[in-house]
């Protein structure tokens, strides 16, 4: 049995030791550009506070959520923004860490992985991506 998937975007960056993608957050005319790791263990997309501030958002006005880790927890606030990865744009709730020491940006399951198709060849640092548009319901 052979299974085939097709994708319309490819990102490759041999210089990185992890699986990262360029991300743009949009709010009106303001944008924030950065890189984020794909993390299937993260329930949601979690970004540094700095990204939120670049967009001029008052972080504490969002949806307050505690994020758990194996060593403890931290507080985030969720905001609806336009999340753009390799020019696949959609509105999503993403979460910003309150603590400025939080230094990671991750693309998680809810809000990103649950609405795209992704393929990975880590050997070549290749990430294949498509929007999940052909949803049969």
């Amino acid at each position: 049995m052979v299974y085939q998937l097709s994708f319309d975007r490819l990102h490759q960056d041999q210089s990185k030791d992890s699986v990262v993608l360029p991300v743009t957050l949009k709010l009106g005319r303001k944008t924030s550009n950065f890189e984020a790791q794909i993390d299937t263990g993260a329930s949601v997309c979690i970004f540094r506070r700095q990204q939120d501030e670049e967009l001029g958002i008052e972080i504490e006005t969002g949806l307050r959520e505690q994020i758990n880790t194996v060593t403890g927890s931290f507080i985030t606030y969720g905001h609806q923004l336009t999340l753009s990865v390799l020019e696949i744009d959609f509105e999503a709730y993403v979460y910003f860490a309150v603590q400025e020491q939080f230094a990671r940006n991750v693309l998680g399951r809810i809000g990103w992985l649950d609405r795209i198709k992704v393929g990975l060849i880590y050997y070549d640092r290749q990430v294949f991506l498509s929007p999940y548009e052909s949803m049969e319901v």
């Binding site: 949009k26 993390d39 299937t40 263990g41 993260a42 329930s43 949601v44 979690i46 969002g62 949806l63 959520e65 505690q66 994020i67 758990n68 880790t69 194996v70 931290f74 969720g78 905001h79 609806q80 336009t82 744009d89 959609f90 509105e91 999503a92 709730y93 979460y95 990671r104 991750v106 998680g108 809810i110 809000g111 649950d114 609405r115 548009e133 052909s134 949803m135 319901v137």
Partner: protein, 121 residues
């Protein structure tokens, strides 16, 4: 005969609710072939920025207000309307389509007691 049937259907459909009319419109449109004779594709377009970015404040208020009621579920919203809900994003998309909306805003409602994990480490 066809005109009589059409008039009858139009008259009877006037008693339907708004969401039922949307469902009927979607059903009838799906039955109409395109000029090339093929059945048109009616793909869902989820969370389109051009539609849903203007409803950000509404959706935030909705989520805060209904977190207890819908925590742990995906919901399909469009402006002030709740189109449906379900345990998975597919369930919510199906509910949106059944209500006659192909361009819903799908969002997961986090449980009030918290449930999110920050990653594998």
């Amino acid at each position: 005969m066809a005109t009589e049937l059409l008039n009858d259907l139009m008259q009877r459909s006037s008693g339907l609710s708004l969401s039922e009319k949307r469902r009927l419109a979607l059903f009838l449109t799906e039955e109409v072939p395109e000029d090339n004779g093929r059945t048109p594709e009616f793909r869902l377009k989820l969370n389109a920025p051009e539609i849903h970015s203007k409803h950000r404040e509404q959706y935030l208020v909705w989520l805060k207000t209904h977190q207890k009621e819908y925590g742990g579920q995906y919901v399909a919203l469009h402006g002030e309307r709740l189109l449906g809900s379900g345990q998975t994003i597919r369930d919510a998309a199906r509910a949106a389509k059944e209500s006659g909306c192909l361009q819903p805003f799908l969002v997961y409602v986090p449980r009030p007691e918290g449930e999110y994990w920050g990653g594998w480490i």
